[in-house]
Symmetry: T
Subunit: 148 residues, 12 copies
């Protein structure tokens, strides 16, 4: 089993409780549970974390560089404003995939630019919790390429 | 008594100690004391908090969504840069009022845009500590409308 | 009693008649009546005027500089386009407070910049007719500071 | 089997022949073959088309609105310039997913804005041919939600 | 009878079938029929064409320069992006009128700029199919002026 | 006969006297006479007004909201600068059509943006005095739709 | 004696009373008196007018086109915002000179662009009341050239 | 003889027929004839093609990558808007030279930026049909360098 | 007699020889002669210099700070690009007046911003050689104010 | 010995471990050790801290205002985005010097603007760890000036 | 033999000595020699000059207006910043061709705009020293047209 | 002793004579003397030059590439406008350090962008004459690294 970090950014701890029309009815715990199970079924040992602190997200990402083989990261509100998180990811040797629940390109203009995307392998946005699931599949594909 | 959160953003713990010409001679404790007393006189139970951490401000606001009926928030330096705080407020069901001690529109251009204002009920700026006091009055007015 | 001018800019004479969902059900006369009464109760003699003419607003503001001790001004559509009104206010020695019924920062982008705000003491926006009421309270507070 | 259109935009017929470092060693035919097989295995009947003509892409998308239940679309160079394709997709009742082989956010600035993304369900970019594969999985997930 | 070309740009073949709330319930054939009849009644022999191809629209416009005396053109999605179509119209000796079904100035910001308008006689937008009808009247007026 | 206001903005009283190459040889009175006659022939009772004052234009538009069923408005130089006029029109319940004598999109860049257009039904520009005539026809068409 | 109009824009009636450090200690009446006397000595019959109304300034300028041979115009706050005044001046056949008391290029950025200057003969700014005096001299020079 | 493609973009088929003051009196056939003859004299076998279709230009360029050793390309109106053509050229292994009849930098601002130029060897503009002739000479020079 | 420097920037040595429609028929020598004579008549000893070198203009201005009491400066093409010249003038204790032959605000957009104006006393533009003459009068007025 | 704070922003704890080509082979501990030793040799008692938290950096800077006489600060990724840190430094009475390991002006455009620099004494960037060493020397120079 | 000036701007005296990968291995003297020889063979008497001084380039161009019949000018670093050189060329009656060794459109964004190009006949860039050679051919073609 | 060039740009010859509050009381000669002495003490043979001519600064820098091992350069007013100086430095093989007396980031916005910085090793600004001293220390450190 390949160790993977799923990292949720600010306000994602509110999932399922508020604005379900936009973000869906699943709580963050339920999503994490699904991702852990999906991971188990495709050879990934998924660990999930969430923080509202930019600094803590940096800390967690830095440590993941030591312990995990890949990261699925939803930077949420920090997507558009954090050069610091971008620098952290640029310093990692492992693949990081940016995910978003909603289609950020269809929202306010200030959400159109991602500071994070250019240092990630790729981006998946707009599929609700399933954005994370697709990212896990994408990591498996990347690991397969690395192995070949 | 209606429970209210007064939340002070970064550097406001320095109030009264530095740059009194700009920000006034009252310390944050003195302002808080005045707001608590004013709140008592108009039916509001005011709780005051301050943090320099964007993440902690998010945490506090999320919890206020459970325990308070309204928020008076001075986002200070995060006013212009925090999409994450904006997302938090957008997720709250209670009224949030943005306040500023100084007239931010009369200062540097980068202070002219507030990411926070569009998700608040309204904004009060330029009246020193009394901006907070006016915001408490505004909340009482809003609660009165909701009751009618 | 301290003489105060409450000045309403263009289209505010339509208040209560149109778009009540946005601007409320009170007519301008009803709002003026409330403000006069509130003024009476807190030591302010409130005079109210409205005009759709930029030039007339300038005239009235210039005269207020002679006869009033403070101004509460809703520049409405001229907020974003009138350098001339800005120059008038900059030439006054008495405090002017900018008010808006709606939260202008949450509306079209061209409403985000106020040419008027930088020359006012402060701004209050988003509380319907109560924005004016808060401004009267703010003036009382300012006069109290001047007296001390 | 649910009928699905996989639509490739301009220059994608060159895949595998040129710039393999950027776009991979698979030819478009090989990718299409993989997608058809993957589709078969997850209940999708995949039809693949490619055109260098903006007008033909519009024609094909319009017809897909009659015959297919979902579209995976790589608009390639038209991503950033075609209002006409955006209008076509906006007029479709079936879900369209935007995919890109490369991470467009990490390339020239003019590739940062997608005119297509705001009218799609979501976007997947950066995973080479596997971006298409993930999009097929995403469609299956969407159909599952619709069915429930 | 004066020969006139009515030229419809991309996606207009979908009229009446999709998004009738925005674009009306008339099909393109029905609109064409109305325009031909209106033309007959005011001395214009109206020919109608539609294409989703920018290149074909250029071809048709170039040929119209030989055979028609005026053009009514709805460039639709190419309005905002086609320098090539602009160059074609600039090379024509006959009057071209730009029409739009919807009020493009009231829609997304990228629809506010028309590359086509500066080389046309004038623009009519916002009146549904009747925008075309008004353009036919306008052509009659122009021909009358030329004749006098 | 349906009452209609035709409103001319600043400097249009000079029509026919100056710059006839650009604006034509008809005086404003002659144009008004033509529009009244055309209106009579198609069931519209046309009243014409002109003012150089933004404030007076607002006054007249507000009153038209009570007495007329539609407005044809040439805001001239205020087209690009008047938020106040935009707010007036947005508050009216009757259809307003923006007209321009010249093709404003073909002139200086600051004439390319209309603050007025987004709150009108539609815009007609570039046909000289006949722009007004087309607008009257457009109003008749709108009233016909409302009646059906 | 050649008839000349000196036209003062908004807030210039306050001259001498307020902000003398910026605008000088002379009242508008004193300046006018000086300009009339200077005019007399160099063959110009100077008439002076002031208005805070954009519309009245347009009216006065239009009439000056009939009665005066040249205009010295300080558009003050309307310098940067009035397309309507620009259009009026463009329609005049007589020379108009733009003057400013202060050096507008050394002030706020929004004062850097003049909409009026491009349709004037020239601009004189920064010399206090003497800017007007220089403009009178400039007109005499222009009339001399026209005569030769 | 080295095989060379000369490719003409949209509207260039009109050459000689319209706007000869700008584009010269030579028809496209005459220009092609001259280029073929010039090519013959300097060792180039010149084939000429023209299309108004962006997609067809892409097709032709892709095929030229197989059959020709160099391309002289006048993208005309697509110069400023086509990312797709840029991508095609970037994928070619043979030198492409961008040419323009007119001096595009001296025309409208939207013609100042070329999306095509950065992926070409160089650009030649402003010399009428002789721009193509110079490009043929440039190709001969490039082939000479490659050979040495 | 008060010593004054009249300084001409790049290309002004061509005056009278080229483009007389724009810049007039007087040569630079003739203008200088007129300015010297005018200076003699109003108490100014005028010295005239010209250079095409930004560095030499800086040298001359620096020396003028020692020997002259005022400067009339036409920076010509360096108006819009020279921070170095701006710094030189900012370091001078004597008044500098910016002059231009043509109305720079009516020309290309890049000529609209002057880097020099903000550090000058004022600006005079649009009156041909008479712009210099007016500047000499302005200096006399300034010296008169300094003396009083 | 004068107490000095050396403060390292986000991701600088990774120094020496990652991207040594860009940031050098020294670990943060090794750099701190060198700075402490250098400080000792020139009369400075250097204390070093690092945090990935914007809030903690604010806390540390606020406390340094009480205990240290100067600060050397590398804000790293927060350089370009933190108004809050700017406000903290503006409120300090002691000199703060901004340092960067790399030449930020030579990197991505979003790294070109520093929100921090305008409130610092000065900036040193591009010299690797030696940027800090130079800043210590600069502080000694500043203290020497203050003492004289 | 027709006299021609080939003028090289700043830093071109370094050619062949530095950065040969970008600018080629030929020294400026060798290039000049080739151009003189080429000129001789096609009827042009080529004189070559180089200067690092903007002012000297202006001087040389002004004199060329008297003595030469055409100019080939590589403005190098002044291409993007010199209004003064643009003004010089605009004042010349002889054709000037802008050349660049490298493809400036493929380099930094600030190299994309040429202030010089709009006043030249045309531009040739990207062909190394051969850009100059092509420009000489272009001049011969222009002279041929003038003669016919 | 390693030969070093210290190069001062425009207006720096005025140092100590003017605006001492901003630039300090030391003359350029005194600063040069201090730098020569400091250089002597740390193994550098410092030669100092100043020019107000962009062209001469280019000449001097080009020669320094032959004779010196490093350059300390204060480009002053040319910092923000000279592509030519940037190109010169890019062509040098020796390290160049940009220095500024004042903190340019805290001044006018047009001083925020340095065209020079991206091609230098690093930048030191804000420390008065000591900025140069720090740059000499930085060069010694660089030479030490090169030697190791």
């Amino acid at each position: 089993m390949i160790p993977i970090l799923v990292l949720h950014g600010p306000n994602l701890n509110l999932l399922g409780k508020r604005e379900p029309d936009i973000y869906g009815h699943l709580s963050l715990d339920e999503i994490n549970q699904r991702l852990i199970e999906l991971g188990n079924s495709i050879g990934l040992k998924v660990e999930c974390k969430q923080s509202n602190y930019e600094g803590e997200l940096i800390d967690v990402l830095q440590r993941a560089g030591q312990s995990a083989k890949g990261v699925v990261f939803n930077p949420a509100g920090y997507t558009h404003t954090s050069v610091a998180l971008r620098d952290t990811i640029a310093a990692l040797d492992i693949p990081v995939i940016e995910v978003h629940l909603s289609n950020t390109q269809a929202r306010e203009e200030f959400r159109n630019r991602s500071l994070i995307a250019p240092v990630c392998v790729g981006t998946i946005s707009g599929f609700g919790w399933y954005s994370y699931a697709l990212a896990l599949h994408a990591l498996v594909n990347i690991f397969g390429q690395q192995a070949s």
